[in-house]
């Protein structure tokens, strides 16, 4: 059984919580005591129906204010797949939560209220999903029951969306007309929309091909930890532990170790008490090499062909998360794979208006929720690939030296 991670995005009343509630409920992932608790809370609040949003709003403040503050993770499984949902708040100021939820997702579900059509928030959600490199997008056109399941209304929104999407170079976009409240096309096919034949949401989630979501071409292995038992039969063992970030490594492969560009050969690929013949993303393994070379955390073992870029000047799309604005030439800690260096933002090349996709050229600073193309300079080289090519070796975060807060996320261009 495979694991699929998806994120959901929608505006406040698009029915996101209802949709998630429906997926969980219909796959028997909501337990009786959970449902009882939600029923009790709904009645207490004077609600006439069971408010499934209360299932996902886990914090006291969220329930009190009736809003979702933070990303919540939900889990369900069908006989075909196990799913992890990153449920992100749709509210305007929570771009950072959507970016967080999107960073590990295979699929983004974007909800559109059929009565409102494609709105600014739809653009923003789609832009972020694309920026974060989510390979598959499912646009759920919701509340079809409120427009008499009109095919025309559905087609109109599909057309509007596609027009916008052509500007974004999306690979895989699908559309489903649904009613999350009534359950049409969520788990059960709709009897009201027989003109739609591309499968229910759950059906698509179960069958969407995610095998090529990882990069299996350029071998990348950021060294995370050096395993040195220093005892008994393993006295001289020196294993380089980490998670494969790209490509396929095989025993006997010639490899290059960055930053020193030393070459060696993979002697063994070890997991617990055994050796395996090949390793690929996202496996956690340890390598031993034929040559005794000095390798530590933050170094990267790569394949002989197509090495990553090695550099100190990086162009990246940056999402700024902190209430404190970004200052040009301020120093940050930059974390990239297992490597940590100091960095400065030297230039804001342009900011993005995520509603119109316009590039704004007059920016010198970034405020919370801004997305911008910037030029970064690091004190030491990092080994990277464009984010579009590899989401692991192409991503970075900036950390405040004084407060230790995570300030920004970056996607390398």
């Amino acid at each position: 059984m495979e694991l699929l991670r998806f994120t959901t995005a929608g505006s406040v009343d698009d029915g996101k919580s209802t949709l998630i509630g429906r997926l969980l409920f219909d796959s028997k992932s909501i337990f009786e005591d959970q449902l009882e608790a939600v029923k009790r809370a709904s009645i207490q609040k004077g609600s006439e129906y069971i408010n499934l949003a209360l299932l996902t709003d886990g914090l006291r403040a969220e329930r009190e204010q009736g809003i979702t503050i933070d990303v919540a993770y939900r889990y369900f499984a069908t006989p075909k797949r196990k799913f992890i949902i990153a449920d992100t708040p749709g509210h305007i100021q929570y771009t950072r939560n959507m970016v967080t939820g999107a960073s590990t997702a295979n699929v983004a579900i974007i909800l559109v209220d059929v009565r409102n059509g494609v709105i600014d928030q739809t653009y923003r959600h789609t832009y972020i999903a694309n920026l974060l490199g989510i390979p598959h997008i499912i646009v759920c056109i919701n509340k079809m029951d409120l427009v008499d399941f009109s095919r025309e209304a559905y087609e109109k929104i599909k057309e509007d969306f596609q027009e916008f999407a052509t500007r974004l170079q999306l690979n895989d976009v699908r559309f489903i007309p649904i009613s999350a409240l009534k359950g049409d096309n969520v788990v059960e096919p709709s009897v009201h929309m027989t003109w739609y034949e591309q499968g229910t949401l759950r059906n698509i989630l179960e069958n969407i091909d995610i095998t090529s979501d990882h990069n299996f071409i350029e071998p990348r292995f950021p060294v995370q930890y050096v395993v040195r038992p220093l005892t008994g039969e393993h006295h001289d063992y020196r294993g380089y532990a980490g998670r494969i970030a790209g490509g396929v490594f095989k025993k006997g492969d010639k490899v290059i170790v960055l930053p020193d560009r030393l070459t060696s050969t993979i002697r063994s690929i070890d997991t617990f008490q055994q050796q395996i013949s090949r390793a690929y993303p996202p496996m956690s393994v340890s390598f031993t090499l034929e040559d005794d070379i000095d390798i530590s955390r933050g170094d990267m073992i790569v394949g002989e062909k197509n090495p990553p870029e090695v550099g100190q000047e990086i162009r990246a799309m940056l999402c700024w998360f902190n209430p404190k604005p970004m200052q040009l030439n301020g120093k940050f800690i930059l974390k990239h794979t297992t490597r940590e260096v100091k960095a400065m933002v030297k230039e804001v090349i342009y900011k993005v208006n995520v509603n119109s996709l316009e590039e704004i050229k007059d920016g010198k600073t970034l405020v919370m929720n801004d997305i911008a193309c910037v030029r970064l300079k690091t004190t030491k080289p990092i080994f990277y690939d464009p984010y579009k090519q590899n989401r692991i070796t192409g991503s970075l975060i900036l950390v405040d030296e004084a407060t230790n807060e995570t300030l920004a996320a970056g996607m390398i261009l």
Binding site: R60, Y75, A77, V99, S103, F216, Q224, V248, F272, S284
Partner: protein, 303 residues
């Protein structure tokens, strides 16, 4: 490009993610520890740590916060495991916290040392100068836990600020902190109860006998079966009887509800888990105290 066979099962992907997180802890912190309770989640966590550093030993100690009200089987299992792994075991004793006047024992029929553990835990973290404590908490367990990060920051009072958490992107974990602060890390955040049992079966991990069916002296309180023990005061009308039960979760005796069950193998447990309509924490007395019982305890520094 040939990609045949280049995929992992969900259990192997979860395993790989967790090992990555555990190794990150070993790399980013100076004095980490693993919180071991003797329950299935911390057993799986310890197993993952063993795999992640092989052929070396686990490079951090196990820390058990002992309420003094443990099932005897839990302590036996713990001691055997520690011996087998050759790791250091540290025990923070709630009894000692009580004796030193750090906490006051609850009274009444529902008295439990569950809440008191927080003080013992934070004291132990401070005394041992731990900068990261890994736990086996999972996001699917409870709604406040669904909001947890893998790397969860704690201020110098050990408190969690759920509304002001650091964003956590991709698998880049920010373990930066000031003196006196620490992190709680939850490597199996993304596992469900079912994943845990399926993995235990897949890896054939030995489990404490408490998880399998056995005869035990129990009594029923508000619909929950609790184990009889000298420190468990019976209310009028409650009577001890022998039943065929097993534990679905293991905490200390005062808050662990037992399930009537004849499941005597991992396969039986998995079948039972698949069929059950109640969450595993539904039988936990510690979570029944209020709607936000878990969130409130977590803010104070609970597991």
């Amino acid at each position: 490009m040939v990609m045949e066979g280049l995929s992992l099962s969900h259990l192997r992907e979860l395993e790989s993610e967790s090992i990555y997180v555990i190794r990150e802890v070993a790399a980013q912190f100076e004095r980490p520890c693993l919180l071991f309770s003797g329950g299935k989640d911390s057993i799986v966590l310890t197993h993952l740590a063993k795999k992640g550093f092989w052929p070396a030993k686990i490079p951090f100690p196990l820390l058990h916060i002992d309420t003094g009200h443990n099932f005897i089987e839990t302590i036996e299992y713990r001691d055997n495991l520690v011996k087998e792994l050759g790791v250091q075991l540290l025990v923070g004793s709630v009894q000692q916290s009580i004796d030193q006047g750090r906490v006051v024992e609850e009274t009444g029929y529902n008295a439990s040392r569950n809440v008191l553990q927080t003080v013992t835990l934070l004291d132990t973290i401070e005394t041992c100068k731990f900068d990261a404590a890994m736990g086996g908490a999972r996001r699917d367990e409870e709604k406040a836990r669904a909001k947890e990060r893998f790397f969860s920051h704690r201020d110098e009072f050990g408190q969690w600020d759920p509304k002001n958490q650091r964003p956590e992107l991709w698998n880049i974990f920010n373990g930066k902190k000031k003196m006196g602060e620490h992190f709680r890390v939850f490597p199996i955040s993304n596992w469900t109860e079912m994943d845990v049992w399926q993995y235990i079966l897949l890896e054939n991990i030995p489990m404490p006998s408490l998880y399998f069916t056995h005869q035990r002296e129990v009594f029923n309180r508000d619909g929950v079966w609790l184990a009889a023990a000298p420190f468990m005061k019976l209310r009028p009308g409650e009577k001890v009887e022998v039943r065929t039960v097993r534990c679905r979760t293991i905490g200390d005796i005062s808050c662990t509800g037992l399930t009537l069950s004849t499941a005597d193998s991992l396969e039986d447990i998995i079948a039972e888990t698949a069929a059950t309509r109640v969450t595993e924490r539904g039988s936990r007395f510690d979570d029944k105290r209020s709607e936000a019982a878990m969130e409130d305890r977590k803010k104070e520094g609970y597991f």
